[in-house]
Symmetry: C2
Subunit: 206 residues, 2 copies
DNA sequence: AATCACTTGCTTGTTAACAGCAAGTAAAAT
DNA sequence: ATTTTACTTGCTGTTAACAAGCAAGTGATT
């Protein structure tokens, strides 16, 4: 399929097939969901054999773990760019805007990530720890924003960073889930404005 | 298995096997997740044949839809009892306490429901509409509490009931999900106290 | 620079497990 | 007694996973 390139190093071949497989997997997950997607479909769509997915990723769960990590990495980079070096309330508001922008610009990745994170709730999900780790990291990042905002005098001192971060991450998890499940019932941009106002009202130093 | 009862009506037989199947399914979903649970395992655990689940519920997805509805019904009754005839902020706070109590008293049902709702994010989930409908109903119930609280003069008039309800339901969805994924990272009772304080601070009429 | 030993990427053959269906049996209703 | 309903068993196509094989790339020796 891809041997029109006269000659590739082993590393290049792997990188190429890896990318093709993960892209195919994402498209098929969006269309059919993780469980109705078969390894044969993925291999076929990627332009390889039905056996490559298992060979490369060990198992179906292993492939989804890799996909989860791959999209998460991209998302975390995107978020980092959107937030920049802001801290405190500014960082939290910028993150909300970045989430919305990500959903608008890269709806496929956003949706696929949401499906995978949701699937991680199942006891059989092999990427459960991956999903948990990312949520945990997001929470600690937010807590750090709050602490730095407090140091900078922007955020009031009597709030507890970890508590604020837990509420914030819970809100985001729930809102992205609900919005994906029924976009017509939940207006994301309005919700974001409400949330930003709330953050300013409740966290700004007196 | 259950024919020690001399004679049962057809309706009784169905009710009995229905209950046994759903209970078995719930236990197995908690242990192995929906996709690694097989219909044969469910029939076996319930004390019937491997074929009954398909016969009764049409398909694996149909069974999970029934399970989702069954646990949801119980949960909604439990919630109704916990909230009583409260409205406004009181109802929203009572609902938070009831959620916590449900998780403490009936952790299996709470966890199974969470797994099923999460699985509904997959495009292949046959109970997607069931899950969406319940979330939608919860949101409109909350909006109604807010409106009645406004009528009673407890809740400030300048908040928009639908917006408040969306935020509230999003927060609950996210918190229950995160708490199930890593109970050690999210302190549910502390989060509830924080949330209740926030509700009072931001919604109480001036 | 040409060959050869070896490794790595990928494919194909195979198997056990699975969901779903159809045809059957047993139990209750009429 | 006959019909209807609850449930079981036999069967088939599909699937994930594994193993054995093939082909392409790599690196050392000459």
């Amino acid at each position: 399929m891809q041997q029109n390139n006269a000659s590739l190093t082993q590393a290049e071949r792997t990188a190429l097939s890896d990318k093709a497989m993960l892209e195919a997997a994402m498209a098929l997950v969006l269309e059919h969901g993780p469980d109705k997607t078969t390894l044969a479909m993925i291999g076929d769509k990627a332009g390889y054999s039905r056996g490559l997915a298992t060979y490369r990723f060990g198992s179906k769960g292993g492939l989804y773990d890799a996909l989860c990590k791959s999209i998460s990495r991209h998302w975390l980079e995107y978020l980092k760019q959107g937030v920049g070096d802001k801290v405190g309330i500014d960082a939290m508001c910028a993150a909300l805007d970045t989430i919305y922008k990500f959903e608008q610009e890269l709806p496929d990745e956003a949706r696929a990530l949401q499906i995978l994170y949701s699937g991680a709730a199942s006891p059989s999900a092999e990427y459960q720890q991956t999903a948990v780790g990312i949520r945990r990291r997001q929470k600690s990042d937010v807590a750090e924003w709050v602490r730095r905002g407090q140091d900078a005098g922007q955020v009031r001192d009597d709030v507890i960073a970890d508590e604020v971060a837990a509420q914030y991450v819970a809100y985001i998890s729930g809102m992205t889930y609900l919005w994906m499940m029924s976009p017509d019932s939940f207006d994301f941009s309005v919700a974001n404005e409400v949330m930003k106002r709330h953050l300013r009202d409740s966290l700004t130093a007196v």
